[in-house]
């Protein structure tokens, strides 16, 4: 099946497009994992990717900051334009790209270093702070944005791994924010968390929407419905349907989307 089931202009007319994907294909060796995906992701909003396991949603997410480069045998073609720049351009340094497109993973993965060093690592390697005070300010600001400051302000030198799962995930978000990215990719950020921690992260995502473009992969339809403005449904490597979240959940155009959101398969 080809392309773009919905009228793209209808979605993107009211907001600026942050990322424009056209005919993106991903191959893992001979396996065609993602087929001709084209969609526009609007700026300063939350876009959710849903779909059954192995449908290609994480693969597409990882295209957006070239994390697929790290996978042996992965090959991406098609066009991914962010702010007029081609993400897939081999001349584009992924290091620069990843400073602009941060990522939060499924399992909280803080470095086995102190809380402070976790957050300070990004600014340090990119040289964002001129002085120690500035670095401290960045760390505090990032932790505040991630809603973690009040909990860890008095123990910044404790290891990041000593925090609870939910706190670790917020620490990881603070770490991503610290380099002041434009886009934050989240790959099932709540799947390893309990409902209370999940609620905190969802709240946080909602707050972060004001300043960042957020793309989240989730298995939970409720989560997609709660936090996102746009939802894309992937199935067997194809983008089946993409549109405003309420449309996808209340009035899906495609039978497969309907079956999935009704819980008939997945």
């Amino acid at each position: 099946m080809k392309g773009v089931p919905l009228d793209q202009d209808a979605i993107t007319a009211d907001t600026d497009t942050k990322i424009k994907a056209r005919n993106v294909n991903v191959y893992y060796d001979d396996n065609h994992a993602l087929v001709n995906v084209s969609l526009d992701i609007p700026d300063r909003s939350v876009t959710a990717f849903i779909g059954p396991s192995g449908c290609g949603k994480s693969t597409f997410l990882r295209c957006l900051n070239r994390m697929n480069d790290t996978i042996e045998g992965a090959r991406v073609d098609g066009s991914l334009i962010m702010e007029g720049e081609e993400i897939n351009d081999p001349h584009l340094d992924p290091v620069v790209l990843r400073a602009r497109v941060g990522m939060v993973f499924q399992k909280p993965n803080p470095f086995p270093k102190s809380i402070f060093d976790n957050v300070a690592y990004g600014p340090r390697i990119h040289g964002l702070a001129q002085s120690a005070e500035e670095l401290e300010a960045i760390v505090e600001q990032s932790l505040r944005k991630a809603g973690l400051w009040d909990e860890v302000a008095d123990r910044l030198q404790d290891p990041g791994t000593s925090l609870s799962g939910g706190q670790q995930q917020r620490l990881v978000i603070a770490r991503a924010i610290a380099v002041n990215p434009e886009v934050i990719l989240m790959d099932e950020p709540c799947s390893a968390l309990d409902p209370i921690a999940t609620a905190r992260i969802e709240e946080l995502i909602d707050e972060l929407r004001e300043n960042y473009t957020i793309i989240i992969v989730t298995h939970s339809m409720q989560q997609a419905a709660r936090v996102s403005q746009q939802t894309a449904f992937f199935h067997l490597g194809e983008l089946v349907e993409y549109g405003p979240t309420e449309n996808i959940f209340t009035n899906p155009q495609d039978q497969r989307t309907q079956d999935y959101v009704m819980g008939r398969f997945g």
């Binding site: 990522m103 993973f105 993965n109 803080p110 470095f111 990004g122 390697i125 990119h126």
Partner: protein
């Protein structure tokens, strides 16, 4: 559905029925496990126990302290106290004079030579060095300490021969005529030893008779040509047996002692005599004087020392044993810690041999091995694991590394011989060469261990670092390496420990040569001939002298301590650098 419910009803009974056998299987498996642990523990204990039991005697040694007369004419032939002059001095004469002073009664040349064998001539240069260090000693009397000969050391430790002391009652009258003494005891003091000697003679006679009988039987049975020869041999044996019987019976009232019988040493009046004949009444004997008596009056306090091992079956003569005992009685022989084992390099004389040279050789070799194999191995592993693209070429490299890890170590020795010595002309038997060869040998192990440690770092850490824009190198050096460090360290240290114990390749590159000097702990030391602990053990194990037996075990103990030290370091570093994530 109905089938299913029927099954559910039975399930409890079914499970119950099999439960017991399941628990039995578990108990059985546990007992196998405990048994295996116990067996390996016992084996280890036996191994360590036997090594320690064998090696402990080497840590003590008997030393001879002699009052030496540092006669100016002997040691300073040029008379100017210069080093040159002292080096021409005859220090062995000085030592010989000191020994003669102890035993003035020894005059026969052969006996004197035997007396001078109580210490090794290598002590003369030691004395010379002490005098060169301290010229003030020239012309003085000086108390010189030296190790007693290895044979005598073993004897004093009770490891050379079987001996016993017979306590005697009554007094002893001694009549001297030249070197021979007539002994007459007031009580039948020689009865016990006489009975023993007779028993030995008797059993010797019985043994010969039995062999003669066997030969005769064989001759009768087989007949033919061999039979006559066998009968002749049987007759000879019978005659010898008869001779022993006669000696035991002592028809002329005297039992003659010789080299094939236990030796009897009579200690009396500060002297020592070797018994040559015993009278059948057990009251009198004749004896050769070995150490002169201070008194020949009636002696109340005396003893008989029985050297059970006949003189013709041991290297230490009766005289040497008697002299050593006399020196011990005079306080000139003392037992103490064997410092030579640690302060000396290898020597042909066991009493002067030590592990210092081998230890330093091992240290220098390990230094080279470490400096070469750790950086190269770790760098190779990091590149292959983190940076290299997977293709046929890297696959080929990987297969080869795995194969190299399985190559017998002696092949690396051959490589060292063929390439490093013959082509590059590196100095043979040097720690440098040994280090290069051993690092070649350890490299594959080290690469594999490092790659395993890198693989064990969870990919989530790499993702995390890459995800915030760290470069590949930053990811590896900031995050992956610190987490892999404990594993890399452990792998490296275990690889080095294996290299430390390696012997075979070192034999190929000439480390097996006898080297009497310890290498210096300096860059020059790297190219000087040296040996290592493992090779030293091999060399000593092969040595003819019995005293090297315990020294071999002692060297093994020292090497084991080094190994344990290495492994303890590995555990310590692992604990120190281990980080939870």
């Amino acid at each position: 559905m109905t089938d299913h419910t029927a099954n559910t009803r039975d399930i409890h009974a079914v499970v119950q029925a099999r439960l017991e056998s399941r628990y039995r299987a578990e108990t059985r498996f546990r007992s196998y496990g405990i048994g295996a642990v116990l067996i390996s523990f016992l084996i280890l204990l036996t191994l360590l126990g036997s090594i320690i039991a064998q090696g402990m005697p080497a840590f003590t040694a008997h030393e001879l302290t002699l009052e030496v007369e540092l006669d100016r004419e002997l040691i300073d032939p040029l008379g100017d106290e210069s080093e040159n002059s002292l080096r021409q001095g005859s220090f062995s004469r000085v030592l010989q004079n000191a020994m003669r002073e102890q035993f003035p009664e020894v005059r026969d040349r052969r006996e004197l030579r035997s007396l001078f064998q109580l210490y090794t001539p290598l002590n003369a240069p030691r004395l010379m060095n002490e005098v060169i260090e301290d010229r003030g000693l020239i012309g003085q009397r000086y108390r010189f300490r030296m190790p007693i000969s290895d044979e005598m050391d073993l004897y004093l430790k009770g490891m050379l021969i079987d001996e016993s002391r017979v306590s005697v009652i009554g007094a002893l009258d001694i009549t001297l005529s030249g070197d021979v003494a007539e002994l007459r005891a007031s009580e039948p003091a020689f009865d016990g030893v006489l009975a023993d000697i007779r028993a030995v003679l008797q059993s010797e006679a019985d043994g010969l008779a039995a062999r003669a009988q066997g030969l005769q039987l064989q001759a009768d049975r087989e007949g033919g040509q061999d039979a006559d020869a066998n009968r002749q041999r049987a007759d000879v044996l019978l005659a010898r047996s008869e001779a022993y019987r006669t000696r035991a019976a002592a028809p002329d009232g005297l039992v003659v002692l010789d080299d094939t019988l236990p030796s009897l040493i009579v200690e009396a009046g500060g002297g020592a005599m070797r018994v040559t004949t015993l009278s059948a009444d057990g009251r009198s004997a004749t004896a050769d004087i070995i150490v002169s008596l201070e008194t020949s009056d009636r002696i109340e306090n005396w003893a008989i020392q029985v050297l059970e091992t006949p003189a013709d079956r041991r290297r230490a003569s009766d005289q040497q044993i008697a002299w050593t005992r006399a020196l011990e009685a005079r306080g000139a022989v003392t037992q103490g810690f064997n410092g030579y084992l640690f302060s000396n390099a290898d020597s042909r004389e066991p009493e002067l041999a030590g592990v210092r040279g081998a230890f330093l050789g091992s240290v220098l070799t390990m230094l080279i091995t470490m400096l070469l194999s750790v950086p190269i191995g770790v760098a190779t592993a990091i590149y292959l694991e983190e940076f290299a693209r997977k293709n046929t070429f890297t696959d080929l490299i990987e297969v080869n590394i795995n194969n190299l890890a399985a190559v017998p170590s002696i092949i690396y020795g051959l490589l060292g011989l063929a390439v490093f010595i013959n082509v590059f002309g590196m100095p043979r038997s040097s720690p440098l060469l040994a280090g290069v060869v051993l690092s070649l040998m350890t490299l594959p192990t080290m690469i594999i261990a490092t790659r395993a440690a890198l693989k064990a770092v969870p990919p989530s850490i790499r993702d995390a670092a890459l995800g915030i824009g760290a470069s590949k190198t930053q990811t590896v050096f900031h995050h992956v390496l610190p987490l892999a460090a404990p594993g890399i360290l452990t792998g490296s240290i275990i690889g080095l420990a294996r290299a430390l114990g390696e012997t075979a390749p070192l034999l190929m590159i000439g480390m097996v040569a006898f080297i009497a000097d310890a290498p210096s702990l300096s860059p020059e030391g790297l190219t000087e001939p040296a040996t290592t602990m493992s090779v030293q053990i091999y060399l000593w194990y092969d040595a003819a002298e019995r005293a090297f037996e315990s020294r071999t075990a002692a060297a093994i103990m020292i090497l084991l301590v080094m190994m344990i030290g290495f492994n303890a370091l590995a555990i310590f570093l692992r604990r120190k650098f281990d980080r939870k994530w």
